[in-house]
């Protein structure tokens, strides 16, 4: 630090007054423990809800279901009310400096809403056989809430709920754990849903309406679409058609980087596209007999991908300016 200041002083770029100001700033600068405290809070919430869950489970006979349901409902409403009272005025931009307490009470309210709904169904068969309704209601509610209060966490809850409504289990862990998450009947629904999500993300970026939500849409949408289509490629006939579809989506994802200079979709497009392409190649050519060719295939194809990624900016014609 001081070497830098010395250098700048020597070159007469900053005055010695400024340098001493900077030194004073560096000396009094506090350490930010923002993330540490936030993690503690999450941990506390997890412990508390887990502990309370067990306690209630053990004592359900003496508490009674209706009392419990009333209690959850009241608590849920209180949480909603608190965040509503402390809300920031609505805007299509990102709302900065929200009070963290109202943020968490909003999150709590939404979680409690899910608990309440599940409880009602479990105990009183509230929704009967209309299971769809039970996931449709939270999806709609959460989408509304996330836009109204500008809360990205609730947006991802809304997306997972909407996925559940369609019969897809798209929470991140199950997404990555296995390719079997999607029942065969839902594969095309999954592709459509994923593409739709990506489109919404793209629209929100393009029209500048809640631009910062785009990342969440992209993350879920691209993963769902790619995994669904890979599953289709692995388990259905018409492999060539599915491969073409996959490569088309990959190409769109790669070209998207050119427009937005954000590389999440590009990376996903390359990885998923590579998996699909490799699978297709190996399922059509009998590499067992030509072991060396398979080694050369990986060598050359990976080399090509590295070359592409390394020169991605000049290949796609992206200007030098950086954008994370």
């Amino acid at each position: 630090m001081h070497t830098l200041l010395k250098l700048l002083l020597e070159k007469n770029i900053i005055s010695s007054e400024k340098a001493s100001q900077i030194i004073a700033y560096e000396n009094q600068k506090p350490v930010s423990i923002f993330w540490e405290l936030r993690s503690l809070l999450y941990l506390g919430i997890s412990c508390l809800s887990g502990g309370l869950g067990i306690l209630i489970y053990q004592n359900i006979d003496s508490i009674g279901h209706s009392v419990l349901i009333a209690f959850i409902a009241i608590f849920c409403l209180v949480c909603f009310w608190y965040s509503y009272k402390n809300r920031m005025p609505f805007t299509w931009e990102e709302v900065l400096n929200t009070s963290f307490l109202s943020e968490y009470s909003l999150l709590g309210a939404c979680v409690l809403f899910l608990v309440l709904e599940g409880y009602l169904q479990y105990q009183y068969n509230f929704f009967g056989e209309r299971y769809g309704l039970a996931t449709f209601i939270p999806a709609v509610l959460f989408f509304g809430v996330s836009y109204f209060f500008d809360h990205r966490g609730i947006l991802s809850m809304a997306i997972t709920a909407a996925g559940s409504w369609l019969g897809l289990s798209i929470a991140p862990k199950s997404l990555f754990k296995t390719f079997d998450i999607i029942n065969n009947d839902f594969i095309y629904t999954g592709i459509a849903f994923g593409v739709l999500l990506v489109l919404i993300g793209w629209l929100s970026e393009w029209k500048d309406k809640k631009k910062h939500f785009a990342f969440t849409y992209y993350f879920f949408g691209a993963n769902v679409a790619f995994i669904s289509i890979l599953t289709a490629l692995f388990s259905f006939d018409w492999k060539f058609i599915h491969l073409l579809l996959l490569l088309t989506i990959s190409a769109v994802a790669i070209l998207h980087a050119r427009q937005t200079k954000s590389y999440l979709l590009l990376l996903m497009g390359i990885i998923y596209g590579y998996i699909g392409f490799t699978y297709y190649t190996f399922s059509n050519f009998n590499f067992d007999q030509y072991l060396f060719f398979s080694f050369f295939y990986f060598m050359i194809s990976c080399g090509a991908v590295v070359y592409f990624l390394f020169n991605v900016k000049s290949i796609l014609g992206i200007s030098k300016s950086k954008n994370v």
Binding site: L40, S46, G53, L101, L114, Y263
Partner: protein
Amino acid sequence: MKAYNETWVENLAYKSSLNEWLKKGLISQAELEKCNEEVRQDFYDPNWFIKIGLFLFTGIAISFSSGIFLALLGVGSDNITMGVFLVIFSVLAVIVLEHLIKRNKLYRSGIDNALLYSAIGFLFTGILSFFNFDFVDYLYPLLFLVILIPAIIRYADPLVSFGAFMSFFFFIFLFSNTYSWGKTLLSFIMMALSAAVYFISKAQKKFIYYDDAQFVIETLALAVFYLSGNYYVVREANALLNNQSPSVEIPFSLIFWIFTFLVPFVYLYLGARKKQRNAIIMGLLGIGFSVFTYRSYYSVMPIEWALTLGGAILIGVSVFCIKYFKSPKFNLSSEAEEQGKLQKLETILVAQAFQAKTSDDTFKFGGGDAGGAGADGKY
């Protein structure tokens, strides 16, 4: 000595503090531009997602290109031939690495990381296969350490320094176990050595080039120091080494109890005083582990009450701290340094923790495990 252009590495560090000063209004935009002229660097610096992709695909390419030769050799070949080939691969990887760093101005770009790690891996397995994979157990980490140290000096890679630190302490652990006095004094040896590593590293702050590597080593030293004085670790390790099950009370237990509860608070205090964020984090984690340690031997209350009360206390403390440190006190502040970067990740994690379940299993859960993040059977 150093593979990457050292001035550029330094300028990279300077640049981030210049940007910070600009944000705080300490220097003007015009001044920043003049400063940037002075602290020029020209590393290839792509987006994070690109780096991940580069690392992944370089890694696959390397393993298959070496695989070709190993397949040519055939499975039945003797260890010496295989060792020779592996060492040759290692040398080749280093040559390519050096060449690319020079020509393409790489700096932790994924490509150079993958090449470096595979060069180390090839050399390590190559040397092992010269000796037919037949070593006394403590020589494995020692050999690994001997390979890693030159790599740290030249490339200053954080992950390599992580490996070096771990293999050093693994070596000490295994080596002490060959002597009976070593077994008895193990925890004191580990504490002394981790403290020594920490203070030596702290005293050597001449080069910005090694900042990240040193940060990793210091953080790990803090962790090892705490853990090797922790009652639970000492008692269970002692039982494991002497084949006792269940574990029995250890000698000097009072000393270890004191360490268990004192060290985290010392970390917190010193972390705040010296503005060491890693010490603060280690202190917090240490307090958590100390509570766990106490509960493992003295059951104060049933688990559900412990979770409920502990959770309530945690929520209370963190809410209080977030409010209390809003305006900085004791060098600490609860305001975010920069918003946005980690928050994206947080939203994804939220969806994992609090998900709406699919129609198939929504109605199977009872009151007990309804949706709560921590309630899925871990406790």
